[in-house]
């Protein structure tokens, strides 16, 4: 049971405040979990803004160095990867998917350039035909083809399609781990499911482990194998996704779960009206 990725008491803090009020903001405190190399899974980190989930993603990708603890990918300390050669080797196995597809693709660069560059660098392909073939193969995985992408710019396609192209690009070096930070929050609801279902096929058909980072409990419940809930840098609860999200044991995760509005008017209205009563009660009690 070799570890694909191991976080060992990882922490990250930032200096904040002026000369006189120097203090440390703890973005991530004592985070530990392990992803199994021979059991691909969708591991989800759930949390609201400021919970430290994005900082965690950046540390796993090696874009930020933890201030405490260590992150090992296939036994190698990610923060120690310095040389260009080692970085490339690491990036061949660990690829990111970004939140806003319109920000992730340079509006002045054609989309196919990203696919070709990945194929050229990580697969060492040289001839144009080989490179285009690799790009087309990756696009097939996500239900697209090179014809739809060649020479196009990001503003010509929808958020959902761009995100699928981003997944295709990440698949080219056949990575072991994909770190997706809020991959669907900028995608329309009607297209969101195509991306989320895609993660499942990547796990099952290509054996890729996916770290899925989101604030949306419903998609987390629908797609994840395991989940950890973070709040202001702390891990509140962790475990099997259905168990933890189905009926959480900690107060914060229960509040989070109860705030999720079900797509059914009767139930949703009841949640809002209950909150309204609590608001009015608090006012009258404060008022008297």
């Amino acid at each position: 049971m070799s570890a694909l990725l191991q976080l060992d008491h990882v922490g990250r803090s930032y200096p904040v405040g002026g000369f006189f009020a120097r203090r440390q903001l703890q973005a991530v405190k004592d985070l530990s979990f392990t992803l199994n190399a021979d059991r691909p899974e969708i591991f989800t980190i759930v949390g609201e803004s400021g919970s430290g989930k994005t900082t965690t993603a950046r540390m796993i990708l090696g874009n930020e160095v933890p201030t405490s603890g260590v992150i090992r990918f296939l036994g190698q300390d990610v923060a120690a990867i310095r040389s260009r050669k080692d970085r490339l080797a690491f990036m061949a196995k660990v690829q990111p998917i970004f939140q806003n597809p319109f920000e992730a693709f340079n509006p002045l660069t054609t989309l196919d350039f990203y696919l070709y560059s990945t194929a050229r660098r990580f697969l060492g392909l040289r001839t144009r035909a080989e490179i285009e073939a690799a790009a087309d193969k990756a696009l097939q995985h996500v239900g697209l083809s090179l014809v739809e992408v060649r020479g196009r710019y990001s503003h010509e396609l929808s958020g959902g399609q761009l995100q699928r192209i981003a997944v295709a690009r990440a698949l080219i070096p056949s990575p072991k781990l994909i770190v997706a930070d809020e991959p669907v929050s900028m995608v329309d609801a009607s297209l969101r499911m195509s991306i989320v279902n895609l993660f499942r096929t990547l796990r099952d058909d290509l054996g890729v482990t996916i770290i899925y980072i989101t604030h949306d409990l419903s998609t987390a419940y629908y797609i994840s194998d395991r989940v950890i809930i973070m709040h202001k840098g702390d891990v509140i609860e962790a475990g099997d996704a259905r168990a933890v999200l189905g009926n959480p044991s900690e107060d914060y995760s229960r509040a989070l779960r109860n705030a999720v509005l079900p797509p059914d008017p009767v139930a949703a209205r009841r949640i809002i009206e209950a909150r309204l009563e609590r608001r009015r009660a608090a006012l009258t009690e404060a008022g008297t």
């Binding site: 990708l61 874009n63 490339l88 990036m91 690829q95 990111p96 970004f98 939140q99 806003n100 920000e103 992730a104 693709f105 340079n106 509006p107 002045l108 660069t109 350039f113 990203y114 560059s117 990945t118 050229r120 660098r121 990580f122 710019y153 503003h155 010509e156 981003a166 690009r169 990440a170």
Partner: protein, 285 residues
């Protein structure tokens, strides 16, 4: 490249006027290579002749043809301006990109020095350099000094652009797509850095030309080398305004003012055209 020129000429009136003005003055200046008399020769022609068929713009009290004097003067003034512009762009780009991309301590140190230099009065320092160097002062040295005093405002603008580019998601995406640093800089970032570099370059060129005119008008430069400022300097020395040789003063002033206007119009119109936002809207973004 020509399609851009055609678009600009057709749709942007500022560019049209600017292009025509700068173009004619540039040709006028380039003509000095075919001048019948050497630039520095004096007392060749009958002095103080008003504009006539023979001497289109008249002659000076020092027996020089005003027309060819201005042509040579504009050429020298522009070469001075271009030298200052290029040298200061190199420093501004270097400082702007290093502090923008590296960030952290390097950024803090460079920007502190940058802000310090901005607060220094340029002309007194330049005058001090001239005073100290006296006759050793050659125009390339003056150009170097002006360049070293003229880059800091622009370095801060370039830094703000590079800093924002470094933190944009498509930069990280490019790195993970295997693009090398030069590829990212040239292919991904250049279209965003170009407008600010170009616009500050044109402003610097205008500032440098103004500086050259100002210094040589006071006689603080190699006055034997014909420059626009030099002409006005000699016109003042010979009391041209008082003794009614108006053409000696008016034509160089008109020429340099037209040059300023032309360059300025070019700067505004081209900057608006290559700005990524307007380029995107043309692509239908």
């Amino acid at each position: 490249m020509f399609s851009i020129l055609r678009d600009l000429l057709r749709f942007n009136v500022e560019f049209l006027i600017g292009f025509l003005l700068t173009g004619t003055i540039f040709l006028f200046a380039a003509a000095h290579f075919f001048a019948p008399y050497p630039d520095t020769a004096i007392y060749l022609l009958p002095p103080d002749m008003p504009p006539s068929a023979e001497f289109w713009l008249g002659t000076t009290s020092r027996g020089q043809d005003v027309f060819w004097q201005i042509s040579g003067a504009i050429w020298n003034t522009m070469t001075f301006g271009l030298t200052v512009m290029i040298l200061s762009r190199i420093v501004a780009l270097a400082v702007g990109m290093v502090s923008g991309y590296l960030g952290g301590k390097a950024d803090e140190v460079l920007m502190t020095i940058n802000d310090t230099l901005i607060a220094l009065p340029n002309i007194p320092i330049l005058l001090l350099v001239y005073f100290v160097m006296r006759d050793q002062m050659t125009w390339p040295l003056l150009a170097l000094t002006a360049a070293l005093l003229g880059w800091n405002y622009d370095a801060r603008l370039i830094r703000s652009v590079t800093l924002s580019l470094r933190n944009r998601e498509f930069t990280r995406h490019a790195v993970f797509a295997g693009m090398s640093v030069p590829q990212v800089l040239i292919r991904q970032h250049l279209p965003y850095v170009m407008p600010v570099v170009f616009f500050t370059a044109m402003n610097n060129l205008i500032w440098a030309i103004g500086l050259e005119v100002t210094l040589s008008v006071l006689g603080f430069s190699d006055v034997n080398r014909p420059t626009v400022g030099g002409m006005i300097y000699w016109a003042n020395q010979h009391q041209a305004a008082v003794s009614g040789i108006w053409w000696w003063l008016v034509f160089p002033i008109v020429a340099v003012v037209l040059l300023f206007l032309g360059l300025f119009l070019l700067a505004i119109s081209i900057n608006e055209y290559i700005d990524p936002r307007s380029r995107l809207s043309r692509m239908g973004g």
